[in-house]
C-alpha cells in the first residue's frame, strides 16, 4: 500500500507532505487581443470554404527540375548516403554517422561500432548539425574587422610571426583530442617557438583531478573510468550522466551495468550540493557543500586506510571541521571495503585535497586496473589551471608575442574581460580561429573563419588506444577554411590540405599497411583498424607514495575560511542542453527544457524550497547573486533536492549572438574569483530578492496527469508494480484482427537518465519546429517527445523519476473517435496515423489525449533563412500552420524498411530503429513487433506497466519501472510504489 506521501509529484504544491510553496494556478494560455477581434465562427468557415475552393482552381506553379550535368557516382537523388565520422562538439569525440541527402547532412546519429560511445549521441552533439546551418556563422575571414581573402590572411599572419622576436606564440585551445591537430600545432610551435595552453571551459572542474593524477600516477591524465566493472559507484559532484566530461560513454557504461542480470545490482551513491542529473539517477544522494564534500572524502579515506595495511599515515590524516553524514560515512566505508576492486570513487572538484583523497581511496581499495585505468587514461580533459595562470601572467606582463585562439571564447568565459581585452590589444599578433562571431574574435586582429566540424577532415583519440576519423559530410557552405589547414598554412608545412595531411600522417603512423586500401577502409568505417598505432602519450614518471601522502597532507592544511550563516554557496553548473555555452545559439538546444528545472530558453538560479521560503522568492522572481564585487541577476527556480545552502547557477547562457540579455550572463558570473583561476565551486554568494519577476518558460505543468498514477519505482528488479492495472470486461471497441507486425515500444525507466538526447534526435528527424520562449510559456511547445520529471517523497531529499512521454499509439485511441474529419486514424500495423492534409485544426484530439502528447501549430514556426532550412528532413512533411502533429513512431523509417523488404522480395522487414531509440546512450528504448521475442519478454517483465492503464486506451508503449537500490538497513523514506493503490 502506498501512502499519499509516496505519490510522485511534479511541483511543490502537489507534494502533500510539505506544502511549502503557495499553490499556484496551473499555467494556461492567456486569451490574446486577437480573440476579441475574431470573426464569428460561421462566417469564418464560409470564407474559408470559398477561398479553399478558389485556391484549388489554380494550376500548380511551373517548377523546374535541374539534373546534374555529370552525376557523381555515389549519389542517387533522393537516396541517403551515410558517412562514418566523429562528433567534435565536445572533446569526448563520440562516433558519428551523418545521414546525407542530396549533398546536405540532415541527421547525425551515433556510430554503433565506436568502441566507447557505442551508438549513442547526446543532445549537444546532435545540436551540432543545426549549428552547421546557422545563419549567423562567419562566412569569410577578416583582418582588423574588414573582410579579407585567405591570401591576405596568410600574408598578415606570416608577417606577424616573422616578427615575434623571441617572444612566444601561444596557442590557446580546448583540450585537443585530435592527434593530427596536435601534431599540426606542434609543427607550428616548433617553427615559431611557443606553447600550447589547453583550457576546458566547462562548469565541471578537472584541473585538481589532473594534478592529483600527476601526483598519484605520474602524469596529468585522468584514469579512464570502467563503470561496467563496478558494483559500488560513489560520485562527488561530478555530473557523469549529464553534462560531465564524457556523458555518452559513462551513461552507456552505467546503464549496461544496471541491466547486467547476472551480477548484483549496481549501487550508486552521489554526494552533491546542486541537484544534477547524476544525483537524480543515483540510488542514494547525500547533500553536501563543497567544504563538506572534502570532509566526507577525507573521512572515507581515513576509514578505508584504517582497514588497509601499510596506510597508517593516511588513516591519521587531519579531518576538517565540516564532515557531516558521519553515520552514513561509516556505513559507506564498510560497503567500499567489502567491494575492494569492484568499487569506484570519482570526484569533480577544485580542491586538491579532495581529489587526492579520492585517488587514494581507489588505490587502497585496489580499484586501479579494474574499475579505473591509469594505464589507458582518458584524454578529454587536459587543461591545467597552472598553464592558464602562466598565460594570464604572461599576457598581463606583455610577454606574449602572438596569441592564436582556437575555437574558444576566453573573453566571454574569463572573469576579467576588460583586463584581458586590454592585454590582448598589446599582443602584436592576435588570431581567432572560430566558426562564430565571438567576443574574442571581435578583439583579435585576424579572424580565420573556420569550417564547421562537419566540413572538416580530422581525427580524435578520446582515450589512449581509441582513435577515430572525422570526414566531411558536406562541401563547405561558405568561404571558410578548416582550422587544421590554417595551422598548416601558417607553419609553412609542405602539405597544406587537411585531408592530405591527415591521410599522410595516418598512412605513416597509424595504419598497419601504408596502402590506399587501408586508408579507404579507415575512412569508410570512421575508425582506426584493430591494432593500429595511436597517439603517443606523455611518459608516466614513477609515482612516489611518500610524496603523494605528503602532497595530501599539504593540501589538507589549506582550507577555506568558514562562511557566515547568511552567506550561501554558489555553484556553477552545466545543463545538458547548453553545456559550456559554445552552442548556445542553436535553437534546438535552447528549446530543450532542462530535465530537472523543466525550463527552456532561460537561465534560472536553482534554490532549495527552504532557501526560497526564507528569501521570500518563488519561481520566476529575479534574484541578485553577488560573489565578491560581481553580481548576476537571474530568475529563481525552486528546486526540491537542492542543498539549502547552495544556489546553482547555470553557465552557457549569455554568449554573443545567443540573444540573451547581458545581465543573464552566468558564464561571467562564473568566474567571479579574482585570483586568476576561474572558480566554479564553493563560491561565497549573497543572494537578494529584487522586486522584478520573469515569466519562466516552464513546461513542467503543461501535461500534468493531475495526480493520476503515471510513473512508478520499485525496490528490486523482480518486484512487480502495484497500482497500475488494466480494466477488464469493459471494452466497447470492436475487436480488430491483429496483423503482423504490431509496433510496440518499451521504455526502460531504470536505464533512462533523462539526458534528453532522444528529444533532440526526434526534433532533427521529424522537422519539429522551434517556437521560442514566449510560446513555450503559453504551453505551445512542439516537441513530440518530452521527458517528464517527477519527485517522490520529501521535497528536501526527494527521489527523482524521469518518464519519456510520446504518442502511445493507443489501440483504443481516444483522439481518433473525436476527430470530425478523420485526420487521425488507425493503421493496420497498430499506428495512430496523423494525416496533416486532412487536419482542420479543431484540436479535439489533443483535448481528448490522456497523455497530452499532441502539439498544435499555432504559427508557421519553421526558419525562413534558406541555409537554416537545409536541415529539414526530406522524408517528413513540414507541417503548416493550423495542423495538429504528434509522434509517429518514425513512420518514415517504417516505410523505408517496408520498401527495402519489397525490393528484396521478402515479407520480413529489416530492423527499424526510431530516432529516439538510435540516439539513446543508455539503450533505454526498445522498438519492434509487439509479439517479437525482445519486445514481448520485456512487456511481460514484473516491473512492466502502462502509463494511465486504468483509462483503458491500450497504449502501444510499455514502461519498465525504475529500480531504486538502497543499502541493507539504510533508511528508506519512500521505497516501493509511487502510484495510488
Amino acid at each position: 500500500m502506498a501512502t499519499p506521501d509516496e505519490r510522485p509529484w511534479m511541483e511543490l504544491d502537489e507534494s502533500q507532505a510539505h506544502p511549502l510553496a503557495p499553490a499556484a494556478a496551473p499555467e494556461r494560455a492567456e486569451p490574446t487581443e486577437s480573440d476579441a477581434l475574431a470573426l464569428r465562427r460561421r462566417s469564418f468557415l464560409t470564407l474559408a470554404g470559398i477561398s479553399a475552393s478558389l485556391a484549388a482552381c489554380e494550376r500548380l506553379p511551373v517548377r523546374h527540375a535541374l539534373p546534374y550535368v555529370v552525376a557523381p557516382e555515389e549519389i542517387t537523388p533522393g537516396v541517403a548516403t551515410h558517412y562514418a565520422s566523429t562528433c567534435q562538439a565536445c572533446p569526448a569525440a563520440c562516433g558519428l554517422v551523418a545521414t546525407v541527402r542530396d549533398g546536405r547532412p540532415v541527421k547525425l546519429e551515433g556510430h554503433p561500432e565506436h568502441p566507447l560511445s557505442g551508438g549513442g549521441l547526446c543532445a549537444f552533439g546532435q545540436g551540432d548539425l543545426r549549428a552547421l546551418y546557422d545563419a549567423g556563422r562567419l562566412r569569410e575571414p577578416a583582418i582588423d574587422g574588414q573582410a579579407a581573402s585567405w591570401e591576405d590572411v596568410d600574408r598578415r599572419v606570416a608577417a606577424g610571426l616573422a616578427e615575434l622576436g623571441g617572444r612566444p606564440l601561444v596557442v590557446l585551445s580546448r583540450t585537443v583530442t585530435s592527434p593530427t591537430l596536435r601534431s599540426a600545432i606542434d609543427g607550428l610551435l616548433a617553427r615559431w617557438g611557443g606553447r600550447l595552453v589547453e583550457l576546458d571551459p566547462d562548469a565541471e572542474p578537472a584541473s585538481a583531478a589532473l594534478e592529483a593524477a600527476e601526483i598519484l600516477h605520474g602524469r596529468p591524465l585522468l584514469p579512464a573510468l570502467e563503470i561496467g566493472a563496478a558494483d559500488l559507484l560513489v560520485t562527488f559532484a561530478t555530473d557523469l550522466l549529464g553534462a560531465g566530461p564524457e556523458p555518452v560513454v559513462h551513461t552507456a557504461q552505467w546503464a549496461a551495468r544496471r541491466r547486467a542480470a547476472a551480477r548484483p545490482p549496481l549501487r550508486h551513491v552521489h554526494v552533491e550540493g546542486s541537484l544534477s542529473l547524476t544525483g537524480a539517477n543515483a540510488d542514494e544522494r547525500w547533500l553536501a557543500t563543497a567544504a563538506e564534500r572534502r570532509g566526507i572524502a577525507l573521512a572515507l579515506l581515513r576509514k578505508v586506510a584504517a582497514a588497509s595495511p601499510g596506510a597508517e599515515a593516511l588513516a591519521a590524516i587531519d579531518l576538517p571541521a565540516a564532515a557531516p553524514h558521519a553515520a552514513r560515512v561509516d556505513a559507506l566505508a564498510k560497503e567500499l571495503l567489502a567491494a575492494r576492486g569492484r568499487s569506484l570513487v570519482v570526484t569533480a572538484t577544485e580542491d586538491l585535497a579532495e581529489a587526492l583523497a579520492v585517488g587514494w581511496i581507489n588505490r587502497l581499495l585496489g580499484n586501479e586496473g579494474h574499475t579505473l585505468d591509469p594505464e589507458r587514461p582518458s584524454l578529454v580533459r587536459r587543461g591545467l589551471d597552472r598553464d592558464l595562470a602562466w598565460l594570464r601572467g604572461a599576457l598581463a606582463r606583455g610577454e606574449v608575442g602572438a596569441l592564436l585562439v582556437l575555437g574558444l571564447d576566453p573573453l566571454d568565459q574569463w572573469p576579467d574581460a576588460d583586463a584581458i581585452r586590454k592585454a590582448l590589444a598589446r599582443v602584436p599578433l592576435t588570431i581567432a580561429v572560430t566558426d562564430r562571431p565571438t567576443a574574442t574574435a571581435s578583439a583579435c586582429q585576424v579572424v580565420a573563419a573556420a569550417h564547421h566540424p562537419l566540413e572538416c577532415w580530422s581525427d580524435a583519440s578520446p582515450r589512449a588506444g581509441v582513435l577515430s576519423l572525422a570526414q566531411p559530410a558536406v562541401r563547405p557552405l561558405f568561404a571558410t577554411r578548416a582550422p587544421l589547414a590554417s595551422l598548416l598554412a601558417w607553419s609553412g608545412a609542405p602539405l597544406r590540405e587537411d585531408r592530405e595531411f591527415l591521410a599522410e600522417r595516418w598512412k605513416r603512423e597509424v595504419l598497419p599497411a601504408a596502402d590506399a586500401a587501408a586508408w579507404r577502409t579507415a575512412v569508410r568505417r570512421g575508425l582506426a583498424p584493430e591494432g593500429a598505432a595511436v597517439a603517443a602519450l606523455p611518459a608516466a614518471r614513477p609515482s612516489d607514495a611518500v610524496a603523494a601522502v605528503a602532497a595530501l597532507r599539504a593540501a589538507v592544511a589549506t582550507s577555506a575560511a568558514a562562511r557566515p550563516a547568511d552567506v550561501l554557496e554558489a555553484e556553477l553548473i552545466a545543463e545538458v542542453a547548453l553545456r559550456d555555452g559554445s552552442r548556445s545559439h542553436v535553437p534546438w538546444l535552447r528549446e530543450l527544457p532542462d530535465p530537472l528545472t523543466r525550463a527552456a530558453w532561460s537561465a534560472c538560479a536553482r534554490l532549495a524550497p527552504e532557501t526560497a521560503r526564507s528569501l521570500g522568492v518563488a519561481d520566476g522572481d529575479i534574484v541578485r547573486v553577488s560573489v565578491g564585487a560581481r553580481s548576476v541577476e537571474m530568475a529563481a527556480r525552486v528546486l526540491p533536492g537542492q542543498h539549502p545552502r547552495v544556489i546553482g547557477l547555470p553557465v552557457g547562457y549569455g554568449g554573443r549572438g545567443s540573444g540573451d540579455p547581458v545581465e543573464w550572463n552566468a558564464t561571467r558570473a562564473a568566474s567571479l574569483d579574482g585570483s586568476g583561476r576561474a572558480l566554479r565551486r564553493g563560491l561565497s554568494a549573497r543572494v537578494e530578492r529584487t522586486d522584478r519577476r520573469e515569466r519562466l518558460p516552464l513546461v513542467q505543468r503543461h501535461a500534468s496527469s493531475e495526480g493520476r498514477p503515471i510513473v512508478f519505482q520499485v525496490a528490486g528488479a523482480d518486484e512487480a508494480v502495484h497500482g497500475a492495472h488494466v480494466p477488464e470486461g469493459r471494452d466497447l471497441w470492436p475487436a480488430r484482427e491483429p496483423t503482423k507486425p504490431q509496433w510496440h515500444m518499451v521504455l526502460d525507466l531504470d536505464a533512462c537518465t533523462g539526458c534528453s538526447a532522444c528529444v533532440v534526435a526526434c526534433q532533427a528527424e521529424n522537422n519539429i519546429a522551434v517556437v521560442g520562449a514566449d510560446e513555450i510559456a503559453r504551453n505551445r511547445g512542439m516537441h513530440w517527445l518530452r521527458i517528464d520529471r517527477y519527485f517522490v517523497g520529501s521535497p528536501d531529499e526527494p527521489d527523482v523519476l524521469f518518464e519519456p512521454m510520446m504518442c502511445s499509439q493507443c489501440d483504443h485511441a481516444p483522439c481518433e473517435t473525436v476527430c470530425p474529419v478523420a485526420a487521425t486514424v488507425h493503421s493496420e500495423d497498430g499506428l495512430n496515423q496523423q494525416v496533416y492534409n486532412r487536419c482542420v485544426g479543431t484540436r479535439y484530439c489533443a483535448n481528448n489525449c490522456p497523455y497530452k502528447v499532441r502539439a498544435f501549430n499555432w504559427f508557421d514556426n519553421q526558419p525562413s533563412e534558406p541555409v537554416a532550412r537545409m536541415v529539414l528532413n526530406p522524408d517528413v512533411t513540414v507541417r503548416a500552420r493550423g495542423v495538429m502533429e504528434k509522434c509517429t513512431f518514425c513512420v518514415q523509417r517504417i516505410q523505408a524498411a517496408r520498401i527495402a523488404a519489397r525490393a528484396a522480395g521478402t515479407a520480413d522487414l529489416p530492423e527499424v530503429q526510431t530516432a529516439c531509440q538510435q540516439s539513446c546512450p543508455a539503450r533505454a528504448i526498445h522498438f519492434g513487433d509487439g509479439a517479437s521475442e525482445s519486445i514481448a519478454s520485456r512487456r511481460h517483465a514484473p516491473r512492466a506497466f502502462q502509463a494511465l492503464a486504468d483509462v483503458g486506451v491500450r497504449p502501444s508503449i510499455t514502461y519498465l519501472a525504475r529500480v531504486r537500490t538502497r543499502a541493507a538497513g539504510a533508511p528508506s523514506p519512500h521505497d516501493s510504489q509511487g502510484g495510488h493503490s
Binding site: S53, D829, N837, T877, V878
Partner: protein, 183 residues
C-alpha cells in the same frame, strides 16, 4: 424583406458547388514546352531504348530522375553530334550548367511517392505515365489525384492485377494505410 445575409446563406452553397465542379485540382494533360526539344517517341518508341537506361533512379529510390546531360552525350558524341538540339545539351555540359527542364509530374509536399517499390512490384512505367514512347512532347497522362492512386492501391491490397501478386500477403493489406504516402 430578406436580409442580405439570409440571401447569401442560400446562395453560397450553390456558388461553392459550382466553383468546385468547375475546376478539378489536377494538372492532367500538362505538356509544357521544354528547353530541349527532346522526343520520347524517337528514343523510347523508335529506338526502343529502355526507360531505365536514362531514368535509372527509378530502380534505386524515390526519384526516377532526369538523366544528367552527360548521359545524353554517351550516344550523341557519335550520333547526330551536329543536331541543333544536341548542341544545346553539349553546350550545357561544356558550361557545366544544368538544363532547366520544366517539371511535369508534381505531387503536393505532403504526399510521398517512391518509384522503387512500384518498379519492384512490376508496375510498368506506362501505368502511370501513359504511352510515353508515343509522345513527342511529354504530357501528364494520369490525374495524379489521391483517388487515382488509391484505386490502384486497393487492387494491390487484394493482390489482383499485374505485378501485385509479388506483394507478400503480410504487407498487402497495408497499401491503403494513410502513412504509406503521408508521413
Amino acid at each position: 424583406m430578406r436580409s442580405p445575409s439570409a440571401l447569401s446563406r442560400r446562395l453560397l452553397p450553390a456558388a461553392l458547388v459550382l466553383v468546385l465542379a468547375a475546376c478539378e485540382p489536377t494538372n492532367q494533360g500538362y505538356a509544357p514546352p521544354q528547353p530541349v526539344n527532346y522526343s520520347h517517341a524517337v528514343h523510347a518508341g523508335g529506338l526502343r531504348i529502355p526507360c531505365l537506361y536514362c531514368h535509372f533512379g527509378a530502380e534505386r529510390g524515390r526519384h526516377a530522375g532526369i538523366p544528367p546531360a552527360s548521359v545524353c552525350l554517351n550516344c550523341h558524341r557519335q550520333v547526330l553530334p551536329d543536331h541543333p538540339e544536341v548542341a544545346k545539351v553539349r553546350a550545357a555540359v561544356d558550361a557545366g550548367k544544368p538544363i532547366p527542364w520544366v517539371r511535369i509530374h508534381q505531387l503536393p509536399d505532403h504526399a510521398y511517392f517512391n518509384h522503387k517499390p512500384h518498379v519492384a512490384a512490376g508496375v510498368t512505367c506506362q501505368t502511370c505515365h501513359g504511352p510515353v514512347e508515343e509522345m513527342g512532347r511529354v504530357s501528364q497522362h494520369a490525374p495524379l489525384t489521391m483517388g487515382w492512386c488509391i484505386e490502384c492501391h486497393r487492387k494491390g491490397s487484394e493482390r489482383t492485377g499485374a505485378g501485385f501478386a509479388t506483394i507478400p500477403a503480410a504487407q498487402a493489406n497495408r497499401l491503403t494505410d494513410c502513412a504509406v504516402c503521408h508521413h
